[in-house]
């Protein structure tokens, strides 16, 4: 498979703090890659180094075969970055802002391209509105527009839906999918798991500067995935009967919930039999498949557990 962005042994230090710690990663052409990690994990630092906003302390990054430090003019033409922090210049309106950003990239923005971008981001009616007068959501969409003016091969979206309402989030997601269909490679950072689950083809989990896992989303979910059974007890119990402990069940919610996780292929039958044998009165039953969130929490807590042990 064709690698668009190659990251080799990249580290970024801020004094004693290692914000990004020896990351190796390849982004494939045409995929949506979800970089997932808690706040402070190093997501912004990593993509800032790719986009040229920060210099790596060590290691190398190339985009379409060009080194991001030595051949920055080539790599930056291939990259669009939607930064995490909203920025705008109150001197200029929406159209001027987009035309200026295109100009920096050496591109004269054609009228139909301008209209296309404005339309896709639902900003057509704001074309001559001063950027200061846009709502927060509109400012964020304008940032996306700015990242697209030069038609980049790779688009980086740094927490694009942080602080954005549900409706706008949905419309941004569908726009991201449309971009991918047109051939744009997309790297998305988020600490919002539903977003990665919804959009990403592949997922990298990052914590404290280290990449814990990189895998196809479906493979990740099924390998770490499981189904979960929650039994709400009619009467809380003080401790779990031994046969239930033996099959791996857990007592939660102060003794009123029995939780049991099984791999996707396994059956819940034996557990239910053990519950009946123990004479527990079940008030309610709930089953669900594990989400990316469960996988993520498990990976991160395992990583932290190992580090503190």
């Amino acid at each position: 498979m064709d690698t668009v962005v190659a990251i080799r042994g990249v580290t970024k230090r801020y004094g004693p703090l290692v914000a990004v710690d020896g990351i190796d990663l390849g982004i494939r052409r045409g995929e949506i890659f979800g970089l997932l990690g808690p706040n402070g994990a190093g997501k912004t630092t990593l993509i800032s180094m790719i986009a040229g906003l920060l210099r790596p302390t060590s290691g190398e990054i190339s985009v379409l075969g060009h080194d991001v430090v030595r051949e920055y003019r080539e790599t930056r033409r291939a990259i669009g970055l939607v930064p995490q922090e909203i920025n705008f210049d109150p001197f200029f309106n929406v159209e001027e802002t987009l035309r200026m950003q295109a100009g920096y990239f050496g591109v004269r923005l054609a009228e139909e391209r301008l209209v296309e971008i404005l339309g896709a981001l639902d900003l057509l009616s704001k074309r001559t509105t001063n950027s200061r007068a846009l709502s927060g959501g509109m400012k964020r969409r304008l940032l996306i527009g700015k990242a697209l003016v030069h038609d980049p091969a790779v688009l980086f979206l740094d927490e694009p839906t942080a602080g954005v309402d549900v409706e706008l989030r949905r419309s941004l997601w569908s726009y991201v999918r449309r971009l991918r269909e047109r051939g744009t490679t997309i790297v998305l950072t988020t600490h919002y798991l539903e977003e990665a689950e919804e959009l990403a083809d592949r997922i990298g989990v990052i914590d404290r500067g280290r990449l814990l896992v990189v895998e196809d989303k479906d493979a990740l979910l099924s390998r770490h995935g499981a189904k979960v059974l929650r039994l709400s007890l009619a009467r809380p119990i003080a401790s779990l009967p031994a046969p239930l402990v033996a099959v791996g069940a857990r007592l939660d919610a102060g003794g009123s919930v029995v939780t049991f996780e099984a791999s996707t292929g396994d059956a819940f039958g034996p557990l239910l039999a053990a519950v009946a044998d123990a004479g527990l009165a079940v008030g309610d039953v709930e089953t669900r498949r594990t989400t990316l969130e469960d996988v993520f929490v498990r990976l991160v807590s395992r990583d932290r557990g190992e580090a503190t042990a």
Binding site: K12, L54, R73, R76, N87, Q101, G103, Y104, V107
Partner: protein, 253 residues
Amino acid sequence: MISLGLWTLLQKEVRRFLRVPGQTLLSPVITTALYFIVFGYSLGGRLREVEGVPYARFIVPGLVTLGVVTNAYLNTASSMFVMKLQGTITDLLVSPLSYGEILAGFVVAAVLRGLLVGGVMWGVAGVFSGFDVAHPLLALALVVLAAVAFSALGLMTAIWASSFEQVNFFPTFFITPLTFLGGVFYSIEMLPAPFRAFTHVNPVFYMVDGVRFGMLGISDAPPAAGAALLVVLASGAIAAAYAMLRSGYKLRG
């Protein structure tokens, strides 16, 4: 032949100062007129002539130079610092603009503002004291060099600064005092010896003196000294600002 990227940055920088004409153009006009009324007339009434020219004419080159360098400095300094504060500096840093293009965009726009302000001040001053210039090309060249030097200085200060106070540090503690002690309002012949010695190590003195030679044909020091100093200052400041941008200092973590 300049690239579309540089042209865009240049245009943006020029539009930025043209959108606030009160601040960028009107205020220097008022300041100049005030200098003339206060220094040119009240003091000039007693002094009448310095080195054979009317006092009102004598102070014009210094005032124009002061206006040019302050505005060139302020334009790059405030533009860069505001871009850092707003986060819009990101727009430039992710673009394929080269270090030289970024530097040129900021400096050329700042020089244009300096020249515009200097030109307006010179026009206002001309109403009071006449319009003839002894060596127009030399005067223009020296003023441009001064503007280049101070705009590069403004850019470096803004890249380094983390507060507005630090941006203003340089004008408050260097440009203004050195200018007032740099022979804008007097000939060094009029000073007692210790001050005269200090003036001889003040770069602003040579700058003002050189421009005065260009405009009025009179000077305290050899005019070549002012010209040489300005060439060194301008090329040194440009080289330093280029190296700073290239190093990524403060801007690229």
